[in-house]
Symmetry: C2
Subunit: 382 residues, 2 copies
Amino acid sequence: MNKAYLMVPGPTAVPERVLQATHRPLVNHRGALYEEMFSRITAGLKTVFRTRQDVLVFPAAGTGMLEAAVVNTLSPGDKVLAVSIGVFGDRFAEIAARFGADVEVMAFPWGRAAEPERVAERVAADKDHRIKAILVTHNETSTGVVNDLAALAKARGDHPALLIVDAVSSLGAADLATDDWRLDVVVTGSQKALMTPPGLGFMAMSERAWTANAQSTMPKFYWDAQAAKKAAAKGQNPYTPAVSLLFGLEEALKMLAEEGLDNSIIRHKRLAEALRAGFKALGLKLLAEDAAASPGVTAVFPPDGVEAKKIQKVMRERFGITLAGGQKQLENKIFRVGHLGYVVETDILVTLAALEITLSLLGANVELGSAVKAAGQVIAEG
Amino acid sequence: MNKAYLMVPGPTAVPERVLQATHRPLVNHRGALYEEMFSRITAGLKTVFRTRQDVLVFPAAGTGMLEAAVVNTLSPGDKVLAVSIGVFGDRFAEIAARFGADVEVMAFPWGRAAEPERVAERVAADKDHRIKAILVTHNETSTGVVNDLAALAKARGDHPALLIVDAVSSLGAADLATDDWRLDVVVTGSQKALMTPPGLGFMAMSERAWTANAQSTMPKFYWDAQAAKKAAAKGQNPYTPAVSLLFGLEEALKMLAEEGLDNSIIRHKRLAEALRAGFKALGLKLLAEDAAASPGVTAVFPPDGVEAKKIQKVMRERFGITLAGGQKQLENKIFRVGHLGYVVETDILVTLAALEITLSLLGANVELGSAVKAAGQVIAEG
């Protein structure tokens, strides 16, 4: 027997309070009760997005929201600069290309953050303003790297390109100020730092993004932001909303408000630091350098001679702790620990303690207790 | 105090067993437990769709699935015959037009079913096979009319056009045989007869639809059927699935299997008959004639001098029974009773009993007990 720890970067563990809320009987999504709830939810989302603009809600996975961001602001043939630092940056570029954008990918090595200077240079070179949008992943889940989004936003300077941000695995876990940083489109999902089961997607658009939307000719119906905005003004949705997930989301937003958005961001940062200290104490190499370390997911190389998938298997079968593997060219090269959303200090400690034993069982030279000690020191200082 | 009855045509009331299932802690959607569950679910869906083809699953509202059906099989400029008998038929046509199809709408008066002869004539006149697809709504929720889908399928005859079916409010409630009737694309959602909270969409495609898919150039990424099919072969999804809704769906599919798909269809038909008998006993006019009566939703004209919205208000506030109103040109002209999914004889009886009192309170000349008596006779015969 063991207890389940879902230490993957989403869908993340969901608090019992939120699960309880999803369990409520359905209500009419065209009735007053729903409309009041939906209005409270969109108000709560505005706080989390740090925006005065509407936050639109769709029944969708995060990838659907990447598509929504693209098709709502661009037209076929538009030049797009896609800044990619991993799997999800590549996906964003691919979506824009699929809908006919002229995509230029600026790729950085996996495990590194994007360099704002490079973006600034590229944008400065675009004197006739051909670039209509810059696609950026805030937190790259595949490598455990967080981009310096404020710096990337500054790098755009006065260039009129829209800044379109995939904040799926960052919003609520990493600092993000939609309005203050002049982010034009920000999208995220329910299943990461927002502590809700997967199936809801969110999108905020700046005034400039709405202007672009009016001219955008990429085809859209389900993702049509205008239809969503019009319905939201009445506390409604253009199509059937995922009501029970919204019940959960309302409770999760309450929990986030109780903790405080700033405190949630600090918590994520400190848990990441504690975890990284633990890995380092075990002599494990981390994919991301400290300065670019994701607050929500950490990618780790196994010790020499130990397979990443074996570590995942023992952690899961012996201790009930589910970790994630590497994606694409990192498959079986790394393992990843998610610490996003409903994650606390004890989760970090138990993960490290179990990992010490796991590595030891797999023949690695490990001093039991050393990782927990290093993490404990970070936690005790906090 | 009252007890809540959600008598709207979706999202419908969800059985406690299904709500309980959605409440389970999240699991890793790339792990063996999930893969086994997802494989069981897709097998169960094949039974409900009556198809040997894959049934693909998306986090989406029903409208998203209409979009998925269109963009996966068609190319801009393709000629499409859209058979519309109401709001959702019009929406299907609009989606195809939005993505560049050359749409010819064959509209029938609201409250009437489509005439298969008219479709047969139109198709016969298309000698050079310009029509690439026929869009059909199986059950039109806005009017409470069910199309004779088997006859419409026959009306196509040997014409190579794909038959693309919106079965959002019919599958599980009305007879539908995907393979036997040679339906090429069938889409539905979780929140109707499948008794699961909203947020999941399903799509089955025939071999001919897959061939069309290979040539289709409408842009697609999130809805890309090939990506979904490839992932499903491994018990996975291309993007994060709505795991907790799938927990619920698995339980709902179990319930449907326990009852038997055929019995579910008979139950819906009989409940519709009992309800209609009750309305007729009150002298109320029904929008749909008996032969085209939907098994899942019934549209009713209020008695002279009584406003539809007033009836809805009293039913809701006094008795806790939520009804739906009319849409578009039928707004406040009719009210609609949903009897789709988790609905039983007692729900019909209580709705009629409360309606009798409501109409009486609103000044209509009603004999209390008369509707319940008429419905009771239908039920007793069953």
